[in-house]
């Protein structure tokens, strides 16, 4: 099927398969991407008039964001459960857990949609203040990552996964592990976005 080496087996010199090494290097680049925005947040906050960030931050909906945090945490555990199910040769459970993960991702987007439109209805836009500028930038980029992740998760929920399971079980388990690493990273970013934007 593929000429790419060391997809499943470990490469002797790195001790890792290339799939895992690749996704971790990608995650490292993502840390720098979001890191730049976290850095921007810190310096914008330092430079802002006293109380400005707290004032605009108070306009955000904490219960909705708390719900979304719990949804993403749930999606992370169902993601890792879908991988564990494959390792335990339980394909039906894999589909169920991956399905729940996708539903959680969609629920996150729906809540975010209501959050955004709620702001727009009150005349609050990214241009309204420095805080809102960095809020929409950071959460918007995070939403794009959720959408990207959902596309990949959706693919592995289709009949393509059934076919792959029949042809090469280890390959599917490996791909779900790699996809899971990305999904957990997206959860990890939200774990830090939530307190700095909503709670401080």
């Amino acid at each position: 099927m593929s000429n790419i080496p060391y997809i499943l087996e470990e490469r002797p010199d790195t001790g890792l398969n290339n799939s895992k090494l690749g996704i971790w290097i990608f995650i490292a680049s993502e840390i720098m991407l979001f890191g730049g925005l976290f850095s921007a947040y810190v310096f914008l906050r330092i430079a802002a008039p006293e109380g400005d960030f707290a004032y605009w931050g108070s306009k955000l909906n904490i219960p909705m964001a708390t719900f979304n945090t719990l949804v993403l945490i749930t999606s992370s555990v169902t993601m890792v459960m879908s991988w564990a199910s494959l390792k335990m040769q339980q394909f039906d459970k894999y589909k169920m857990y991956l399905g729940i993960t996708i539903l959680c991702g969609l629920a996150f987007l729906v809540v975010k949609y209501f959050e955004y439109t709620g702001k727009f209805h009150h005349g609050i836009y990214p241009s309204s203040s420095t805080f809102m500028g960095i809020y929409f930038t950071m959460t918007g980029l995070h939403v794009l990552h959720i959408i990207g992740g959902l596309l990949v998760l959706g693919f592995f929920w289709t009949s393509q996964a059934d076919k792959m399971w029949e042809e090469d079980q280890d390959l599917l388990a490996n791909r779900i592990e790699i996809t899971g690493l990305y999904w957990h990273f997206v959860d990890l970013v939200w774990i830090f976005l939530f307190p700095i934007l909503y709670l401080l």
Binding site: N3, I4, P5, Y6, E10, R11, P12, D13, T14, G15, L16, K20, L21, W24, I25, A28, I31, M32, G35, G36, F38, S39, V42, F43, A54, I62, T66, T69, L70, I73, T74, S76, V77, M79, V80, M81, A84, K87, M88, Q89, G180, L181, H184, F185, D187, L188, I191, F192, F194, P195, I196, L199, L200
Partner: protein, 122 residues
């Protein structure tokens, strides 16, 4: 197509890939992992509720910042360690992340150089 690595990188990889005992592919091991995942999930949910509850307390910004970042760091560590299996991962990945974290700190603090800018005194 396989791209050969320079010798020094290969040597480094060999040194880093020492914990080969961490290949937990047996079903019993996975079942044990599942219990750990559930415990981590409960801990994450509890810490989320805790950090929201603390945010309603009347504390100074510094205290609130310290609490929020500490809780977020604990939650992040749980996700990294258990869901992303970093606790049993090869050292090559740990070193990639250490290098990234150092680069992130440089990125975070490099704007402080602007404080040495003397333009405002001219």
């Amino acid at each position: 197509m396989d791209i050969p690595l320079p010798d020094i990188v290969s040597a480094l990889g060999t040194i880093m890939s020492t914990n080969k005992e961490n290949r937990n592919d047996h079903i019993e091991d996975i079942q044990h992992h599942v219990k750990v995942y559930m415990n981590v999930f409960i801990a994450l949910a509890f810490l989320t509720i805790l950090t929201v509850a603390v945010s309603y307390l009347e504390v100074s910004f510094i205290e609130a910042f310290f609490i929020a970042i500490t809780v977020a760091t604990i939650k992040g560590s749980l996700v990294l360690s258990f869901f992303m299996h970093l606790i049993t991962e090869r050292q090559a990945i740990i070193w990639i992340l250490v290098a990234t974290f150092i680069a992130f700190l440089i990125l975070l603090f490099i704007p402080l150089i602007s404080l040495t800018d003397q333009v405002s005194n001219w």
